[in-house]
Symmetry: C2
Subunit: 426 residues, 2 copies
């Protein structure tokens, strides 16, 4: 802990002096579950303000509020309306921002809640999954000038025609990072239930260590390969606008993990973290005719059905034109993918299909891979030494993912954590 | 019933031809209690639209939503903040307007929800009890031009600085009437749990009859003397802007009661309705010195404490300067009023105080009183004939109220209903 704090201070100093003067702080997860939690946040915010920092706070909806609102609006009928869905479910963040703001005022901290509509956070108007296109900062600047803390309802914005739009999954994090960019603050703190980014899930690997820093690219790969700390959209946004993001606990003052540009990562590791995901399912098509154009015939209809295909292994049969192809789809889309393929069986041209939802994707992530050879080989050897079969492989510049039988997930994560000596990671 | 409908049609014809083309319809009470109720409203609105009417719909919050939100925000701490209180509790109407709008679209009726902020409904900014100062009608006109039904969240507006403000008790009715005025529609329908305005509470007087019409002034007196059909603010607004308001059931198509200008009331009755209220408490101060200035000394501190004093009976003692004064205050303010008087005992100058919350106010209301003598005498005789003691009397041009022991309330209402022959009221 002491060591952490020291390391963190060093990083801050490297990043240049008076870093902590202007911050966006976002609170989500169980830290806004109920009134007592919100009062706890109010205490934390009040402390930060009393230390002289200028703050903008972003909050998620309380506890199960959003789920309840979704249930309500879905019960209306079969075809729910996207605009009204947004108008209804955005009320959750409206309520928590008002309550946090009231709790702050109750503590003598001047505060003021803002809807996305009031800021305004202007979006492209795509209901349910809107993208932020511009943020008006005058209201927030004026509010801060008056010495008040703006408390912004996360997850929401306003469309060009003045309708409420929600930002989709991870939307409150996106709100926080986008505000940090628009206000040009020094850092965006995402306070959540976990105390930072770890070398692996500590529930699986007791020796897992919390990272002091991680690069944007690594964080993006982590987010897209099973780590649920931050949604990939907010990391991408932070990278594009060079916003330093800190992931830290809502419940203590530990420094957490700082997400920064690659050149600011103090000690580059070959592999920084191991992640695992159970969100995929595997489909294999056997007896594909005309192997060369098979890929197009298989994946075009899936793309048209909006199903994301991830890992692909294609094996041309040595004996002729016939081949088999294996690929993964999001587990929730498995049945829909199978239906789509069944409906187009003759068009796609395959003999039979097999599927398996009992698989997991395990990934090793690290910017050091760019300059280090043998990282993949090390992974395959380590997994082989434990008798873990690799069913598919996919790689990016800074990530290697393997598909394995689900039952081996934890063993694989621990094995790789040890193989790359991540317990020694500082 | 048939006769009712006919009478109503006649009134409509009197009021001029194509009355029903543009309407504001407000739904509240149990008619927005839950999803099923809202779907029921959507059916009703869809029917009205299919008949060719142009509609603007106003909705209250669902069931206990507002109470729950009030509880939430009150739990934040002792001094709750008025601005944030409004931001939180206005979410209730936001949710129901979005859900009703979605339910309409689900039925193939184009609809669009509006917050007060989006209309905009501009208010004076007094949080918790704001007054509407201006309504922008362009958004709503555009919406209707496109053939959509605007569904406006009731009870809310926006302050000059862009904050959400709520309109206080009866706020959704105020929203409806104000929109009717701003849009210059033909009528404002307030749909609620009761099917109209009655000559007396039908639970108390089985022979009570539903009124086809009632004048604005009578309705205001009714609202301020215990009838909970409409809040006095919305009636006042309707009177000022000459908006015909119809009070009718949310659950059937009975014509309800039309509130109109006095000269449009078809058959003026001496007394139109009997109402009763249990919201008062009685205070008597004995041994007031210097009777002449007593009133000022008693009622000034109460006015400063924001306590509304209603009926006052002052009796100068024949023997000297000492007097007693009896008056009523809202029952909820009784303890506060007693405290205020106790604290200022020497200043006010009285010997002792007595109080009684076991009282009721019974009122007879009718525009015909203006031209008919003996209405009050008839009331006093009828009550005396049943041995009901009158503890105080107050009158206006079109109302007589008496204070009686609470236990006699229903008897008094039935006695007066019979005395004025209201069961024969057409």
């Amino acid at each position: 802990m002491n060591r952490h704090a020291k390391g963190y201070k060093e990083i801050e100093n490297q990043l240049g002096g008076a870093l902590l003067s202007r911050l966006v702080k976002k609170f989500g997860g169980t830290s806004v579950a109920d009134i007592d939690s919100i009062i706890n946040i109010a205490d934390r915010v009040a402390n930060t303000v009393s230390e002289g920092h200028k703050l903008v706070v972003v909050v998620s909806a309380m506890g199960s509020m959003t789920d309840e609102l979704i249930r309500l609006v879905r019960n209306v009928g079969k075809c729910s309306d996207a605009r009204e869905y947004d108008a209804a479910i955005s009320a959750g963040e409206q309520i928590s921002s008002a309550i946090l703001s009231a709790a702050l005022r109750n503590r003598g901290v001047p505060a003021r809640s803002f809807l996305g509509l009031q800021v305004p956070i202007k979006t492209d108007g795509q209901h349910g999954n809107a993208r932020i296109i511009r943020i008006g900062t005058k209201q927030l600047h004026d509010c801060m000038e008056r010495g008040e803390v703006p408390v912004v309802a996360g997850f929401q914005g306003v469309s060009p025609d003045g309708s409420i739009t929600t930002l989709g999954r991870g939307g409150s994090d996106v709100t926080a990072v986008a505000l940090a960019a628009a206000l040009n603050v020094d850092r965006c703190d995402i306070h959540t239930d976990v105390s930072g980014v770890y070398t692996a899930d500590p529930h699986v690997v007791p020796q897992a260590r919390q990272l002091e820093t991680i690069s944007f690219d690594e964080m993006m790969e982590l987010a897209s390969s099973g780590a649920r700390v931050l949604h990939i959209r907010s990391v991408e946004l932070a990278k594009n606008f060079k916003i330093k993001v800190r992931v830290a606990s809502s419940f203590n003052n530990n420094p957490g993990t700082l997400i920064v540009s690659e050149n600011e990562v103090v000690e580059k590791q070959t592999v920084s973290a191991i992640s695992s995901s159970h969100d995929e399912a595997k489909i294999t098509l056997f007896g594909l005719v005309d192997g060369a154009s098979a890929a197009a015939r298989v994946f075009e209809p899936l793309a048209e059905a909006n199903i994301n295909v991830d890992m692909i292994v294609q094996n041309l049969s040595v004996e002729g034109n016939e081949a088999s192809v294996t690929f993964t789809v999001p587990r929730g889309d498995l049945n829909y993918a199978l239906e789509t393929l069944e409906n187009l069986k003759t068009q796609v041209g395959y003999e039979s299909v097999a599927h398996d939802a009992g698989i997991a994707k395990v990934s090793a992530i690290g910017v050091g891979m760019r300059s280090h050879a043998g990282v993949a080989q090390q992974m395959f050897s380590a997994l082989a030494s434990k008798g873990i079969a690799i069913e598919a492989i996919s790689t990016s510049e800074i990530k290697i993912s393997v598909l394995i039988p689900e039952a081996y997930t934890e063993l694989a994560v621990r094995t790789l954590h040890e193989a790359y000596e991540l317990h020694n990671r500082k």
